[in-house]
Symmetry: C2
């Protein structure tokens, strides 16, 4: 039997609850397809800070690197919000992404027919939306140097960051995006601010040059301000979007909210080789942590992405996705996606229902 080592990083807030459920689903789906999954659990985020003083202990990064895929729950919470930068849970996440070199973040945002009413957009605008945002994840302004605080010539304090992209950083994310678009509807929209920023001008130039290698893909370009409008105006115009780290952060979250059900949305972060990082897009929701109220489906669907993009186990991935669809069809809903006429369940029960149909 094929066997893989998976690192679980439950993290903070609702993270442990949703990861526990997803782990069971992952195990079962794997077993049914003849795949053995071995799990190790490590500390990460605020819980790592409390236990070890740092948000990403060396041991966690080493274990993650040595495994074949990483499943993360969620990190952060009010408790650590005012920590200094190097002691923020978020810093641990950035370090993990950099440490695993997962430069491509895949963020699907599809409106499920069962949940179309959850969108705040009119039904005719929301239904059928199926977007994949490919966000560059280990470059740009979140990592660029120089950065910091400095006293300027007027003796005033300044805070500064550097947005920087190299040709090869752009090429490799663009290549992933062209390939993703090829497996979808063949349309790629590259988002930048090339009318103002040099980093975006290089971005547009490289993406355009690369498009000659993908003559079957219809490439377009859009300014980021316009993209944030168009997602609201007519999200169906988009198939695959590729953009830099910060624009991707903003637009992928906007696209997610258009589906109306962020408790459903998974993500995959992959590199050229080595383990990928798979996580739900929702946060740690400290206000409902420990109450068995969280929606585990985003983490379960992240586990499906882990099987597909991390391990190449397409059959097991499809099994999980089909089970989620079936469970929704049966009417089970956690609080965040509940509507009258459906059956309200907690986190664990939702997991059990998915397990039954895997």
């Amino acid at each position: 039997a094929r066997s893989y080592n998976i690192t679980l990083l439950p993290g903070d807030g609702i993270g442990p609850e949703v990861v526990a459920v997803a782990k069971d689903v992952l195990s079962l789906a794997g077993a049914l397809e003849g795949v053995e999954l071995r799990f190790q659990e490590k500390l990460m985020g605020g819980s790592a800070l409390d236990a070890t003083g740092v948000p990403l202990p060396d041991e966690t990064l080493a274990a993650a690197r040595d495994s074949e895929a990483v499943l993360l729950g969620a990190i952060g919470g009010y408790k650590w919000d005012n920590n200094e930068k190097h002691l923020k849970p978020e810093t641990g996440l950035l370090q993990l992404r950099a440490g695993l070199r997962v430069f491509a973040n895949l963020r699907p945002a599809a409106v499920l027919p069962q949940l179309v009413d959850a969108s705040t957009l009119k039904k005719e605008v929301a239904e059928g939306v199926d977007i994949m945002v490919v966000r560059e994840l280990t470059g740009g302004i979140y990592f660029g140097k120089p950065r910091g605080f400095e006293t300027n010539d007027n003796g005033e304090e300044t805070g500064f960051n550097t947005e920087v992209y190299s040709a090869s950083e752009i090429d490799r994310i663009a290549r992933v995006a062209f390939e993703v678009a090829r497996k979808r509807r063949g349309k790629l929209c590259s988002v930048d601010k090339a009318n103002v920023l040099e980093a975006s001008m290089l971005w547009r130039r490289r993406v355009t040059a690369l498009s000659s290698e993908f003559p079957d893909i219809e490439l377009s370009h859009m300014y980021v301000d316009n993209a944030s409008m168009q997602l609201v105006r007519n999200p169906k115009q988009f198939d695959t979007i590729v953009t830099n780290n910060i624009f991707g952060d903003i637009l992928s979250d906007e696209a997610s909210m258009i589906t109306g059900s962020i408790g459903m949305l998974p993500s995959a972060s992959v590199g050229e080789s080595g383990p990928g990082l798979f996580e739900p897009i929702h946060g740690s929701a400290p206000d409902i942590a420990g109450q068995d109220k969280a929606n585990p489906l985003a983490t379960i669907l992240s586990a499906a992405m882990l099987l597909r993009y991390g391990l190449g186990e397409e059959n097991a991935a499809k099994r999980i996705e089909a089970a989620v669809t079936e469970t929704l069809n049966q009417g089970f809903r956690t609080g965040d996606i509940y509507s009258p006429g459906t059956t309200l369940v907690g986190c664990k029960r939702m997991g059990e229902e998915v397990l039954k149909t895997v």
Copy 2:
């Protein structure tokens, strides 16, 4: 009679059409309130590029500086899209903002009861939305240095920009925002990415410190990725938003589209002293230019903002706003806001109808 010099910058595409209409409305509203407005028209944007080789001729900037307010139509078009950066129409706009030192951009986004159906959001989500985005306009990554292209240590080309804010730049925009919030519903949400960026950490620190001067204002903070979600999820939660240049660019456009009628939305850019810059938020729409199809209401409402924020002529401003409301109530609509049962009119005719009711 009070008299003022106004610089008109019609610009490109539909700019000349909408400015011509707004000029007549401005004149009449002024005259009826005992205010004499003297106009001078100057070149700007693509039309300036074609005529003089630069997007903002010195003469235009000097005239704008010497006047008491500037009304701009729209700039840009496909023709100049591939120009080098210093020869882009957009560069002229950035130079104009910097030259007039208009660091505070006020971007109202209100859903008008007559046009609530224009929003792609469900009626119950859209109705009553009334947001003011206060965007920092002359700092941050659009202006920060160093910027440019460089070969890195691997011999690869890079493109880079600098996001930088000084304490006083943050304080002055925050002050404007607190004051705007005070004239509205007393709620201010400051948007940043303080969990990652140093420039945002300083931003949050300064805004928080300043809030002690405005104890009557309820201040909150939100990360930009969350803000882009929350605008879609529940835009009514926002009153006044204050944020940096690039986040403001993205979020103000998103907020605008939530109203569903960007052909209606004005903007004001003001500094500490000197003339303000007033412009509709829509672009130059080259595809409909010269066809008398453009919606002049955004420019007319920008003229109202010019009277209010630029000249302190509140009565004349109100006259224009009331006339626009009345014209909408009478059922007149340009193509972009047309719905069955209303009367479709062109740009000029819309202007005439507003003139009748001023």
